[in-house]
Amino acid sequence: MTIATASPQALSELDRPNSYIGKTVPRPNLDRLMQGRGLYVSDIELPRMAHVVFLRSPHAHAKIVSIDAAAAKRMPGIIAVVTGKELAAVITPWVGVLTHLKGLKSAPQHAIAIDRVCWQGEAVAAIVATSRDVAEDAAEAVRVEYQELEAVTDMRTALDSATPVIHPALGDNLAFERNLDAGAVNAAFADADEVAEAEFIFGRHTGVTLEPRAVVADWNAAEARLTIYQGTQAPHMVQNIAALHLGLRESQVRVVCKDVGGSFGIKVHIYADEMAVYALSKLLRRPIKFVADRVESFNTDIHARDHRCKGKIGVKRDGTITAFEIDDLTGIGPYSMYPRTSAIEANQVVNLVGGPYTTKNYRARARVVFQNKNVMCQYRAVGHPIACSVTEGLVDLAAAKIGMDPVKIRRRNLIADDAYPCASPSGLRFELLSHHAAMNRLMAMMDYESLRAEQAALRKKNIHRGIGIASFIEVTNPSAAFYGVGGARISSQDGVAVRLDAQGAVICQTSITEQGQGSESLTAQIVGSVLGVSMERVRVILGDTDNTPYGGGTWASRGAGIGGEAALQAAKILRRNILDVAAAILQTSPGELDLAGNAVVNAGDGAPRIELNELARVVYFRPDTLPPGIQPELMATRHFVPREYPFAFTNGVQASWLEVDPDTGIVRLLKHWVVEDCGTLINPQLVDEQIRGGVVQGLGAALFEKCVYDERGQLTNANMADYLVPMSGEMPDIDVGHVVSPTSETELGAKGAGEAGTAGAAAAVANAVNDALRPFGAVITEIPLTPQVILTALGRI
């Protein structure tokens, strides 16, 4: 762990004078997006394309008695009205379970509901028409008779014997339970001088990608091949699942992913309506387009975080934390999502609570229950915000009990920076983290002592400001341990192919995907650095199962660490091959040569020897002039997957400075700081912007975002006017700092950075609000921290 870079020997190809690694350079191809010339799925039009609109259940739980589509079918422009039963002829149902989540159960789910609907928004019929507005008109003419059933909506009573079982064949509403007992928890609590307990409540919220989910599926009956245009994070996963359920070979399915209008985990899943679109294209033998409208997005895009977690912490008078204990409950909707399942978030909570700290005493229970609400699944920073809010909330409660400063108690308990490698009580293995260095850096950035003085001075003037601190760990670079071992065909390895074109430029195909993080940029930066080629001469192709190597895609903060390493290794092979050819042409040895400035140069003095353009001309058009026996290979492919560590953990710490108005309950965010350690920084600006964007999503959860369901399972705020998200006016400036501890598992040394911001933001804000409200004796452990929640805690309403 250093503030500078890692050993120059290990990074020889990257740590060169003209290297792009560690440099802020603009992402390629932004002009396309800024000029309105991108290609999002909603922009795609194909010959003979028809549009589908889904008629969706208005009830949370109901039997479908009958569907009468006769009138709708007679309307002009209507191509078909298809029910679940009819669609089942071309697509099979699925069950969202994985074997490594022991005991996880779920019921078969269909692309379109058959006989019964289990949440408000589940599709009951597909209306296919020549245009979307015509299909929407016809949807109103489809008559569905429902027999309403009792809806299971409160997770706290989902397991009671008096509560109906949503899927009787499963026996109860318990989807998954995990228990963990590490160390000697009872003794540790007995040994504590103080014990603090609280129940932490997390609002159910969602990703709200600005571009709604959209699919164009094009079954070409003559080729017997399905092309799926979809803004997915994982094209090969979609290929596998579509083929599996349509009875096709994977070679019969191509997935193309162009520009994606926001994803954040929302678009890493496969939704029932998307499956229906694939199936409709096959059934109707023509391209079918589906673009969700905003109401559909709120009702069907996965929700996340609906947890109630009881937590307990033991602490000694000197600040030593003796134990953590949690009991987490979460409601996931009526089905475990497919194919990643809906047990991962609760599982992560169990894994991550207490993660930054030294105590080995930890007991956890997590229960995942079914409900008649929209499905829940993995959204940016899966489980982390919950684990972090519970852990950091408990640490602050413990600090308050013993009258210790929140920073001091953390410094006393954070794992020492020289203690690595080590493992957490839940079995997580940490290669190298930097909690203390990060905390030191944060203290300097925010000038903690001055801020405390300012807070005290303002309190005398009745201005209530608070400081909140939250240390965190983040799962990145997942190996097969995440999904593969459980039987999911979701690749954890990624591949990159690099080739020199006939004018000495570079074409690079990668299996990671781009949703705006900068996958294209980091790939071009790495490849350009290794090959001595300027970035504008590197073209990166991604998001097409026909035209990229096989791989996982971009999710779980894996693109830079895994896809980046594959790019590095592929480029190194190509570099060697280029130098071999160059040595033959120049009648020298490869060791005497180097690549720089789009040319082969002398390794010693950097003098140009032959332009890559000229080398490519010789190889491709005058191979007859090469010495006998030389067969140049100006294309190289490498794949990479982490093998030593299941996950490359990162760490960091966040701080929030805010003001609470005790009369209105309104929180004003004044400043936010993050120090994080994602190892090698490939492009510092892109890392910082991932952190900032992630923080703001976490701030949304902290203050605004909540899917409000009534007791009948009706989502009451399914529009952007009523579901509040962070807007520019309410957001603070966010300062980002770094500590750099590269992973030794790769030559690149990069770990992920996409979720760190979201992981700790809400915890920092909640701790800051409680810090601000300390004079009032109020402690709030619920988010979002709306004015109503705050005024209620203050006893003012």
């Binding site: 000029q35 909603s42 990608t209 926001g262 600006q685 900032r692 964007g693 703001v696 807007m727 520019s728």
Partner: protein, 161 residues
């Protein structure tokens, strides 16, 4: 549904004659009839700002305006503003500052930013944040966007980037 209505509208400097249904909104008209897909539809109820275009010089939510209301009007979209070079400096600042990630909000964001800079050549950060408060960005957290607009304003006033 009633009969189609004839409209004549100038779009990015070109005259367009079209027959449209009265219920067709301007966003759908631009995207589906004129294939100007740079105007994005995010919420279809006037909240997110992704569909922001300029009509007779003022920015409007094209999902809240009917195509027929633009009869005899002049409409400018992100494609037009890009081709004319009017916002080239703003676009450069956005690129250099990485003020966009997925890019879906960006056309509307650029429209709103240019509108602000025309009204208020030297906005402070708070004014920039307030002016953008009707444009939803889910990726950036807004800070980079505010930075890019601040830089553009400074350069336009003769300062350094």
């Amino acid at each position: 549904m009633t009969a189609r209505i004839s409209i004549t509208v100038e779009v990015n400097g070109e005259r367009v004659d079209a027959q449209v249904l009265p219920r067709l909104n301007l966003a759908d008209f631009l995207r589906e009839h004129l294939q100007l897909t740079g105007t994005h539809v995010g919420c279809e109820h006037g909240v997110c700002g992704a569909c922001t275009v300029r009509v007779d010089g003022d920015i409007v939510r094209s999902c809240l305006m009917l195509a027929v209301q633009t009869h005899n009007a002049s409409v400018q979209t992100i494609e037009g503003l890009s081709d004319s070079g009017e916002i080239a400096d703003l676009q450069t600042a956005f690129r250099d500052r990485n003020a966009l990630q997925c890019g879906f909000c960006t056309p509307g964001m650029l429209m709103a930013a240019q509108d602000l800079l025309k009204q208020q050549p030297e906005p402070d950060r708070e004014q920039i944040r307030q002016h953008l408060s009707g444009n939803y960005c889910r990726c950036t957290g807004y800070q980079a966007i505010v930075d890019a607009i601040e830089t553009t304003a400074r350069v336009r006033m003769g300062g350094r980037p």
